[in-house]
Symmetry: C2
Subunit: 517 residues, 2 copies
Amino acid sequence: MSFTRHPAFQKLLSLRQNPVDLTKELAPDRLEKMLLKGCGFSLFYGTERVTEETLDALYLLAEEARVLEKMQRMQAGEVINEIRGVESEKRSVLHTAMRDLFDKRQEAPAAKAAALLAERELTKLENFLEKIKGKFSHVLQIGIGGSDLGPRALAIASEAFYKPGVQPHFISNVDPDDTISTLNKLDLSKTLVIVVSKSGTTLETETNEAFVRDRFQKAGLSPHDHFVAVTGEGSPMDDPSFYLASFYIWDFVGGRYSATSMVGAPLLSFCLGIEGFKEVLRGAHEMDLHALKSPLRSNLPLLSALLGVWNRNFLSLPTVAIIPYSQALVRFPAHLQQLDMESNGKGVDKEGRSVDFSTGPVVWGEPGTNGQHSFYQLIHQGTDPIPLELIGFKKSQYEKDFSFAGTSSQQKLLSNLFAQAIALALGQKSDNPNRSFPGNRPSRILMAEQLDLYTLGALLSYYEHKVAFQGFLWNINSFDQEGVQLGKRLATQLLSHFQETPSPFPLGDAYWKALSL
Amino acid sequence: MSFTRHPAFQKLLSLRQNPVDLTKELAPDRLEKMLLKGCGFSLFYGTERVTEETLDALYLLAEEARVLEKMQRMQAGEVINEIRGVESEKRSVLHTAMRDLFDKRQEAPAAKAAALLAERELTKLENFLEKIKGKFSHVLQIGIGGSDLGPRALAIASEAFYKPGVQPHFISNVDPDDTISTLNKLDLSKTLVIVVSKSGTTLETETNEAFVRDRFQKAGLSPHDHFVAVTGEGSPMDDPSFYLASFYIWDFVGGRYSATSMVGAPLLSFCLGIEGFKEVLRGAHEMDLHALKSPLRSNLPLLSALLGVWNRNFLSLPTVAIIPYSQALVRFPAHLQQLDMESNGKGVDKEGRSVDFSTGPVVWGEPGTNGQHSFYQLIHQGTDPIPLELIGFKKSQYEKDFSFAGTSSQQKLLSNLFAQAIALALGQKSDNPNRSFPGNRPSRILMAEQLDLYTLGALLSYYEHKVAFQGFLWNINSFDQEGVQLGKRLATQLLSHFQETPSPFPLGDAYWKALSL
């Protein structure tokens, strides 16, 4: 059913007329009561602009939209990546099967088959890493989009847990400067190269692979002995004469959901060891089970999704800032940007009807406390409220904290995190209008004990399911990306023009005519 | 005068009723005509939703708001950082004086005095770098906000031009993991440390400085021989018994405008050589003069500011995505995020009146082509249009391009850049609703020959002046940041609670009571 046709939607429309005023209602008991725990996380949402009545209506919406049933269907491997009545991808969505390697395996045949494939590839990888032990110290991933952002975010976030001496690198952009500046940092003789492209024909990745192979050849090294393919079985890249090994990915795992598949596995296992990588998978799997099996009111990613829908569709807030108070998560918002905006930046629903409501928001963010010295000015006093998702951890990763002026760095970090949520909610009156803070600005806080590998996996999965639940609520397809095709087609047209006219600048008549305008 | 009281504002309100439809009006001659050149840049704005009539009204607004006069007053050093009638900073705004070292020095006394101070510090720096020659290979900057984002963005963007063997590092966050993971990458005996804090009392920076000093001492090294202070003259940090040297900054250069002052100079000069850094200054200075002396209709940053106001206030678009098609600019959007959002995220005008219009937008972005494989789905088919500022360069920095499948990487990069602007404007009809693109989505393209040091400086300055012009148009103070104070005060309160109760988790009653809610 269309999002706006649900009875709960009407109820929420009436509640939006009179949302809670946090400058008046924020109190300690509210903060302690509006807290949901699960899977090692605590979600504090007393600083969101909701009442018990709002939550009742939101959970009613979740029930009416049958989101738990949809989550069940997704994790069972039913074909949910589709737009009914028109040509569409018609695929299962089984990133959860990539980490269903532990105790409670899904019994549905499609999910079980996918999990067996994932297990097979992981075993292949384990043997491969054993075989190349000691040969490489650098690992270079060539891939773009989901083949870059998720693995890169996880690699940066887990540096505290690397095996000694390993160094990961990434080339994503077709910009030749990205390739050259990365190549300048490598000892090629010690470098394992992982090329990731599901189709085997992603132009950026093909180009960069050829670029890097050329450098290996010029250095007198055989690319074959250094290059590994991560691709679809039978793709043009699946060729043992060009690669040391091939690891497979499938069309039931979308790029932005693929960090726990072979898209992320080789690089992360190289850096963390296979056992370390399995810890990430274990955390992700536990959150998958939590999202699947928790009832409505104890489901963490669902609550986050519902609060997001309240802010987006009823408080009409067009963006979301994700602010991890953890420098290790510096590139996590860039991953979430893709995950969320590519999944839910959609204009039609699952029946192909144009939507009459707002879908995915703009997702952006930087770590705190850095952000406080940057864009928080606008968040506090700008004309548009920005809902924040704050993320924090009790302990630091290295556990080498430092005491200064009576408190530790980690205590300073956490004080700032909580102070921001309170400051945004309460605001402050002042006789000086420039020192007044309107307050009543929503945020929520997701806390865990420590950003270890398990928690990192669980956090990744938490956001995957938050995004999926939001798509289920909106009745849109969160798993295709038709919106990237037009630009790709026009770029190819322009490119053919470059082949004829090598100098593109200043842009002249002929250049634009190539676009057939 | 208040922004909404200008006669041109009314004119623009009526024009918004019927803005140009790019799906119908985009044509080669429009694209070639709507092009402004200056200072080595070409700004293509034919893919913005403006007509000649819109531009006339926007320039009328600029005239009515006397923006060129305000730019003149700013660069002359008049006190423009103020809110009239209430307590406020009451300062000059003289980042332009930091690079007024070349032929056409400002004659106004305040600006001239500031330029002389800047020149004095630069000479001190030059002598200092000569003196320490060969002693250090790593340079570590400790600072946060403007003492981090601008210098870091410039350092990353200019890596192609580094002196051999130099390696810059940054610690900004009070997160102890940021400090530890950076320390792990350093050879302390070869590391020059630059500590940046105008007041000398920024808590994050003080903490990290103490943390790093402790490590030097534990390694048997004297911090004095490695540490340099960048601070206000006479601040607690201005103490030769603790630092090898002090370089000064002043309250007439705001943090987010300070990359070309001593905030950025030591690290960048260490990496690029003093002559390289002066090239950055020269580019910035040329753009300063361009912004100052160009008439309304040939002023590049002004045009960009006006288009931004059109999108923000008349097309009601709440965000701006800045997408450099250059991997070197990967952290430039994070700098611009601070520059723009901290400057123009304001709720009162220069007379202290609450504004009745939207001020600064949310600014975010990632490099292209990467973004195309990430959030462009939402940009093409999401429910809210996102105006794009695309940035491109004809040549790559390293000029080591690679040919694959008949075109070079740089040609692929540029084809994608232009294709996106066209695709967003034109859209595409399709029988399949999921493959339809609404089009009519605005963007502009800023092109230059190459991202060399001169162009990098000019680009930095272009955005500084775009932001300033927008503030002038809105009649707000773009140079203070009162909105960060409340969070800081509450964090200090919480912190004192930590001193009493060392275990903050799970958060209990006492914790919240400490906030005196």
